[in-house]
C-alpha cells in the first residue's frame, strides 16, 4: 500500500533531461496545478454571484417600477396639475422605456455611482455611506452580543444535556427566540430609559462624540443581539452535542483526555464548521433586523433611509439599498464557503 505508492511515483517522471531539472519542473507544475485547483472553485463561485446579483437587480427594478405611485406625483403633492406631473416625469427621465431606465441605473451602479435622489437632490452614495456609519456598527455589535450570549449558553446547554439545568437553558433560549427583536427593544426602552434613565430612548448624536454614539447604540444592539444569542445558542448546542457523540471524540477520550479537553482539542474546530454557516446567515438576517430596530429607536441608519425612500417613492435610493443588502448577503455566503476550506481539510480543491 504505502510502500507501493511511494515507489511508484518516481517512475511517473517524464524521461530525459537532468534529474534536478525534472524535479524542479515537476514541483513547479504541481504547485501551479494546485493553485489552479484552488482558484477554479473560487472563480466559479464568483461567476454564480454575478449571475445572482443580476437576477436580484432585475427583480428589484421590476417590482419597484410596477408598484403604483410615481415620484413626480409625490414631489408635486396632491394639488399638482397632470401637466406639471408629466413635465417633471420627463425631467426626471421617468418617461423613458423601462429597459433604458434599468440600463442607466445599472450602468451607473457598476461604475460605483449610486445616482442622485429625486427628492433630496443629494448624492445617494453619500447618504448610504452616512447611514452605514450607524447600521454597520449596530449589526456588528449585535452579532458580537449574540455570540457572547450564544456560545457559552449553547456550550453549557450541551454539557448539561439531560440534566435539569440543561433543560432550563434550552427553555430560556426558546423564549428568547420567540421574542421578536422589536418587542425586546421596546421592553428595553421601557425598563432602562423610561424607568431607569440609563440610556437615551432614541436618536443618534453622530460619531463626533463617540461615547454618546456608543451609548445610543447600546439598546438597539442589545435588542437585536439578545434574540440573536438565543437563536445562536440552539445551533451551538446542537453542534457541540454532535461532537460529544462523535466517534473521534470517544477516541480522544480513550487516549486519556477528559471530556472538556477532548472537546477543546478535537470538537471545537469541527463544531465551528456548521456554526460559520449559521453566523453568515444570521449576519444577513441581522442586516434585515436592523432595519426594523432602527425604526423603533429612530436611528438614522440604512433602515430609516430605506423607509423614508419608500414613502417618498425615491425609487433609485430604494433600489440601491436593496442591491447593497443583496450584495452583502452574497458576499457573506462566499466568505462562509471560503472559510469551510480553511476549517475542513477534506474540502481543499473541491467545489
Amino acid at each position: 500500500m504505502s510502500a507501493d505508492e511511494s515507489q511508484l511515483s518516481p517512475h511517473h517522471l517524464p524521461s530525459g533531461g537532468a534529474v534536478r531539472g525534472q524535479r524542479g519542473s515537476r514541483t513547479l507544475g504541481t504547485s501551479l496545478r494546485r493553485a489552479g485547483l484552488a482558484l477554479l472553485p473560487l472563480l466559479r463561485r464568483l461567476a454564480t454571484m454575478v449571475v445572482a446579483l443580476f437576477g436580484a437587480s432585475v427583480l428589484v427594478f421590476v417590482v419597484l417600477n410596477v408598484l403604483p405611485g410615481s415620484p413626480a406625483e409625490v414631489i408635486l403633492g396632491t394639488q399638482a396639475t397632470p401637466r406639471a406631473v408629466q413635465q417633471l416625469t420627463a425631467q426626471l427621465g421617468l418617461n423613458k422605456p423601462l429597459i433604458n431606465q434599468y440600463l442607466d441605473w445599472m450602468g451607473n451602479l457598476v461604475r460605483g455611482n449610486f445616482g442622485v435622489s429625486y427628492i433630496s437632490h443629494q448624492s445617494i452614495g453619500s447618504q448610504i455611506g452616512q447611514a452605514l456609519t450607524v447600521t454597520g456598527p449596530l449589526v456588528l455589535f449585535a452579532l458580537l452580543i449574540g455570540l457572547l450570549i450564544g456560545l457559552p449558553l449553547g456550550l453549557a446547554g450541551a454539557l448539561r444535556n439531560g440534566r435539569v439545568s440543561g433543560s432550563l437553558i434550552g427553555a430560556m433560549s426558546q423564549v428568547g427566540m420567540a421574542v421578536p427583536s422589536v418587542v425586546a427593544g421596546l421592553l428595553l426602552i421601557v425598563v432602562l430609559t423610561v424607568k431607569l434613565h440609563i440610556f437615551p430612548t432614541s436618536g443618534f448624536p453622530g460619531w463626533s462624540d463617540p461615547w454618546q454614539a456608543l451609548r445610543a447604540l447600546v439598546l438597539p444592539s442589545f435588542s437585536l443581539g439578545v434574540v440573536e444569542g438565543a437563536i445562536m445558542s440552539r445551533y451551538v448546542r446542537a453542534s457541540i452535542l454532535e461532537q460529544l457523540r462523535s466517534d473521534y471524540l470517544r477516541t480522544a477520550r480513550s487516549k486519556g483526555l477528559r471530556v472538556g479537553q477532548a472537546l477543546r482539542r478535537h470538537g471545537f474546530r469541527n463544531a465551528a464548521i456548521p456554526l460559520v454557516t449559521v453566523v453568515g446567515l444570521e449576519l444577513a438576517s441581522l442586516v434585515v433586523g436592523a432595519i426594523v430596530v432602527e425604526n423603533v429607536f429612530s436611528l438614522p441608519g440604512l433602515g430609516l433611509l430605506l423607509l423614508d425612500s419608500v414613502n417618498n417613492r425615491d425609487l433609485i435610493t430604494v433600489q440601491d439599498i436593496a442591491m447593497l443588502v443583496a450584495t452583502t448577503v452574497l458576499v457573506l455566503n462566499l466568505l462562509v464557503d471560503l472559510s469551510y476550506r480553511l476549517l475542513d481539510p477534506r474540502l481543499k480543491g473541491t467545489a
Partner: protein, 329 residues
Amino acid sequence: MTALLSVRGLSVSSGPLELVRDVSFDVDAGERVGLIGESGSGKSLTALAVMGLLGEGLRASGSVRLGDEELLEASELRRCQLRGDAIAMVFQEPMSALNPTRRVGDQVGETLRIHRHLSRKAAERAAVDLLSRVEFAEPERYARMYPHELSGGQRQRAMIASAIACDPGVILADEPTTALDVTVQRRVLELLDRLVDEEGCALLLIAHDLAVVSEVCDRVITMYGGRLVESGSVSQIINEPHHPYTQALLATSKALSVSESSLGSQLPSIPGTVPSAGHFPRGCPFQDRCDRRVEACQVMPEVVETDNRALACWNPVVGTSASGGGEAA
C-alpha cells in the same frame, strides 16, 4: 498469578434494561483473549465498560480490576490517567474514529503528549517513529496528511500506532478489521499480532469471526444476548465447542475458509436473527434459535467452570463429532 485485567459480574444497563449481564473473565499479562459473538451480543459494550467510555445513559456495575485497581470505583481523573497509558483501545471504524480536521501524526502522537508530556516537536518525532513501526513506508509524509487522504487500512494502522504509543498493558481491539477490505484485513491483523508480541501486552480482541480470533488468540470467550455463554482455550473451542451457539458460529466460520467443500451447497447460517436489546427470551437468550433446546432453557443456566473452560448451557454439545462443518458437507 493474579490476572492483569479481571472482570467480575459486569453488567451494563440502560435504565431498567440490562444490555450486558453478569459477565466475568480474566486476561493475564501478555495473554490474548478473543471475544466473539454476532452484532448485538454485547461485546463492544463490554469493552467500552472496561474503558469507562460508555455512552450517555449507560451504566456499568460489577467489578473491573486492572492490576490492583478497581476501575468502576476510580475517579474520572484517575481513569483518564489510565486510559491510553495502561489500557488502550482500537476502534472498529477508523474513518470516523479519527478526527477529520487534525493531521495523522498529530493524532498518533497525542497519547504521548497527554501521558509523557512530550513537547509538540518531540511528539511529532515520536509519531513518525510509531508510524514506521506500523509499516508506513514514508512516515514523515503520512504524518502530515489528514485521515481522509489515507486508505482504510492505513487509517487503522495509524489507530494502532496511537494505541501502542505508551506501551499499555492491555489493548482492547473492537473489531479492528471488520470495516476494512478483505485484502487489507490480514495485513492489519498480522501487524496487530506482531506488535502485541513485541510489546508483550495483553490483547482483548473483539470479532464476530472465529477464524480471526483463532489465528491470533490463546483463549476465546463467546457472548450472546449480553451474556458470557462459553469460554476456553482456542483449541478447546475450535475442536470441541460445547455451547450450541459457539458450535453454530464455528460452522459458519469454517464454511467460509474451506471453500471447496461448501461449493454448490448452501452456506450454513445460524437460523433466525439476533433480537434487538430487551427482546431476548427469558432464560437462555439463545433458546429461540437453538436446536438443542430443552425445558430447562426457560431458566438461565449458571456459568459452570471446569477444566479451564466455562459454559452456560443446559444441554451442551458433547463429543468431537459435532465440530461444525457437518452441516455444510
